[in-house]
Structures are given as structure tokens and as C-alpha cells.
């Protein structure tokens, strides 16, 4: 679906996107994802969909080491397994009730996921993690523009949202986040205004 390559790690968030008690929401290659942190600091990336009634997990809430769905308050633990169903408090929850869990790796201040990714995420040089900029163009177009006109001092990676949009993330080697932001917003204007 929409150009996601199996075996590849994609950056889907920055670590600073995931404070305590927050459910982060994004998309990767047409797959809606939710990410959250348990109390041990570990990051969990799940399909953004409660297996009960399909409501987005990212509308829900982190409760300690569990994610609670907004709709019927079903709770899911770190492994993705459902732990508690309030409407049936005495029920031992069947193991088959499970969030769809995605692989996750933390590296270079970014959170990485993908479809059966292999090895380690790409190495990035040291520097400050940028604010992610969405661009309403396919990843291939953004990649092409960056090859043609590289942005100096930035190590960038692309997160394909779907076939029409891409998030640009990365590192400012000189820690100058303001300059980096101007450069990325200019890139966005250039690409989105081009026919």
C-alpha cells in the first residue's frame, strides 16, 4: 500500500512528540498509527484502531501502563493485549483481543517503525531534532527535490503519509532549528505551489 517498503525502518515521530500521558497520532503509508509511552519510558506503536469497535486509540488516554479507549474504556497493556473490559469486570479477557502492534525502535531522537523492518534504523549524524513538516506531495517527489537541491546542514528522512503527502523529519547538524524550519517551510511552499 502506497509505496511502503517491507524491511525498511521509517521515522514516524520524534521522541519529544511523546510526553507522558499523551497518545500521539500519525500515518505511515496509509496505515493510521497511535504511539504512547508506558511509565518505564518505552514507546509503543499500534494501529490506531481499537479492536472492539474500531475507534481511534489516539482519541483515548494513557492510564499508567495501559491505553484506554475513549469509546467503551477497554484497556490494553504494553504487549497490546486487552486487560480489562469495564462492562464485564469479572471476565477473564480472552487473549485474542489484542491491539495490532507495530515494530518500534528509538534512534537519533526519532521513533521508527515499519513493516517487518530488519537490522537497525539508519544512522543519523548528531545534532538537534527538527520539527516535522508535512508536505502535500508524494515521498518520491519530495525525495527528488531534495536530491536536486540538497538542504545544507540537514540530515533528513521521509515519512510517507499516503500516496499524496509526506512528512519530512531529521536533524540540524548545527543545532540551528530556526534556520532549518525556514528551509523546510520554503521547500514545502516550493513543492506545493508547483503544478
Amino acid at each position: 500500500m502506497s509505496g511502503l517498503q517491507p524491511g525498511v525502518w521509517y521515522a514516524i515521530a520524534a521522541e519529544h512528540d511523546l510526553p507522558k500521558d499523551h497518545v500521539y497520532r500519525t500515518m505511515l503509508g496509509g496505515h493510521e498509527l497511535a504511539a504512547w509511552r508506558s511509565t518505564d519510558g518505552a514507546v509503543h506503536v499500534w494501529e490506531d484502531r481499537c479492536p472492539h469497535r474500531g475507534v481511534r486509540f489516539s482519541l483515548g488516554e494513557v492510564v499508567g501502563d495501559e491505553l484506554r479507549c475513549q469509546y467503551h474504556a477497554w484497556r490494553f497493556g504494553k504487549t497490546g493485549a486487552c486487560t480489562f473490559i469495564p462492562a464485564q469486570p469479572d471476565l477473564k479477557v480472552p487473549r485474542t483481543i489484542h491491539a495490532a502492534v507495530w515494530p518500534v525502535a528509538l534512534s537519533a531522537g526519532l521513533v521508527w517503525s515499519g513493516i517487518e523492518p530488519t537490522g537497525a534504523p539508519p544512522e543519523l549524524p548528531p545534532g538537534a531534532v527538527l520539527r516535522a513538516i508535512p508536505i502535500a506531495r508524494a515521498a518520491a517527489s519530495v525525495a527528488h527535490a531534495l536530491v536536486k537541491e540538497p538542504l545544507s546542514g540537514l540530515a533528513l528522512v521521509l515519512q510517507p503519509l499516503d500516496e499524496t503527502a509526506t512528512i519530512v523529519r531529521g536533524i540540524a547538524l548545527d543545532d540551528d532549528l530556526v534556520r532549518a524550519d525556514h528551509a523546510l517551510l520554503a521547500l514545502r511552499r516550493r513543492l506545493e505551489q508547483a503544478a
Binding site: 512528540d17 500521558d21 482519541l59 508535512p134
Partner: protein, 213 residues
């Protein structure tokens, strides 16, 4: 204090939300604006010739502008919500009104059949939402959230500007907009939702677990 109110209108919600945060009890006077047009009756027009909601009545004082109502509540109950020493307060209240005319209008067009150009409203709203997202990152003194700057106006306390913008931003997906690629806005919405005294409205989810921390 009496609030002439319509549950689904964001400017009315802003006044109820601030009252909740201040712990002020309002006497609500609900009006059937949609579909009843109760804001166009002679009785209501005598109170507010513009026919707009909300109207806040505090003794002899009749306030027909929602931002003025927020200012009035803050100034009479807790001035921490009205940081008058910051020029940015004026800018952010203007931003809130612009969000109302764009994101707010798109929501009313899509969900209540209000007249207007939804596509134009969304285009304007997208530009404003991008700018609020950017400012949450780059506050004037550095990097917003990452230096502990949680609110739109510098300082440790939320202001009426946060609530005035929140009431259009939090339910913006009802107007065909999206917060998905605006992570700083989503975190800021969480911070507002977790404020003590927070109240919700249709399309704005109340916090469940993390209240009272």
C-alpha cells in the same frame, strides 16, 4: 451571572469553559438557536440587537461580545487568566476571532448547514492552524514546549487566549480539518483538557483518567 447560551456554539462554550476553570457558577439560559432561531425573537434582540450568542449579564452589565465576556470573567475573578502586560494577548485574541471565522465557520457549515464557503474557510483555517503549531514550537524566547512553555502566552499560567483558541481548534475535525500532522497542537489540547474545572462540549472529548492530577 446569567449566560444566554447555545450548547453547540464555540463562543458560548468558551465562556462556560472559563467559568468552569474559575469555579464560577453561571445561571444558564439555553436558547434554541438551531433550528428554532430563538436568537431572532424580539425579546432576545432587545437584549442584543446583533442577535449573536453568547450574552453575559452581570448585574447592570450586559456583554454581547464573547471575548469581552471572557475578559470580564477573568478580570472580576482571577487576573492570572488576563495577562495584560503581554501585548501578545491582543494578538492571540485576534487569532481566536480569525479561527472562529475559518475553522469555526467550517464546522458550522459542515455540521449545522450554516451558509458559507466551506473550502475557503478550511483554506484559511489550515494556514492559521499551521501558524499556531509553529508558534507552539518557536515561542519568542526559544523552543516553546521544550523550555516548559505550555501556553500560548509566555508564563506559567494559561490565559483566556488559550481557551478562546481551544474552542475552535479542539473540535476542528468536525469541520473537515485535521490535527493529525500538528502534534504540538494535539499536546496543547491535552494540556487544556487536563486543566482543573475543564468542561466539554459536543465534539470535544473530556479527559477520563487523568483528571485531578
Amino acid at each position: 451571572m446569567i449566560l444566554y447560551d447555545a450548547h453547540h456554539l464555540a463562543p458560548c462554550y468558551a465562556v462556560r469553559l472559563l467559568a468552569g476553570c474559575l469555579g464560577v457558577t453561571l445561571e444558564l439560559e439555553p436558547l434554541d438557536v438551531y433550528p428554532g432561531h430563538a436568537n431572532q425573537t424580539e425579546a432576545f434582540l432587545a437584549l442584543n440587537p446583533l442577535g449573536t450568542l453568547p450574552v453575559l449579564v452581570d448585574g447592570p452589565c450586559i456583554i454581547t461580545d464573547w471575548l469581552e465576556a471572557l475578559a470580564h470573567l477573568a478580570l472580576t475573578h482571577d487576573r492570572a487568566w488576563f495577562p495584560a502586560e503581554h501585548a501578545a494577548l491582543i494578538g492571540w485574541l485576534g487569532m481566536a476571532r480569525d479561527l472562529g471565522a475559518s475553522a469555526g465557520a467550517a464546522r458550522l457549515i459542515d455540521t449545522f448547514g450554516a451558509p458559507g464557503d466551506a473550502a475557503a474557510a478550511r483554506a484559511q483555517a489550515n494556514a492559521l492552524l499551521d501558524e499556531v503549531e509553529r508558534r507552539l514550537w518557536f515561542s519568542e524566547r526559544g523552543f516553546g514546549e521544550r523550555i516548559g512553555q505550555d501556553w500560548l502566552i509566555e508564563g506559567p499560567h494559561p490565559s483566556i487566549a488559550d481557551l478562546a483558541c481551544f474552542v475552535f481548534i479542539a473540535p476542528c475535525e468536525d469541520g473537515g480539518l485535521s490535527l493529525r500532522d500538528r502534534p504540538a497542537l494535539r499536546r496543547w489540547c491535552d494540556r487544556v483538557r487536563f486543566l482543573p474545572g475543564f468542561v466539554s462540549m459536543s465534539g470535544v472529548f473530556p479527559p477520563m483518567a487523568n483528571t485531578g492530577r
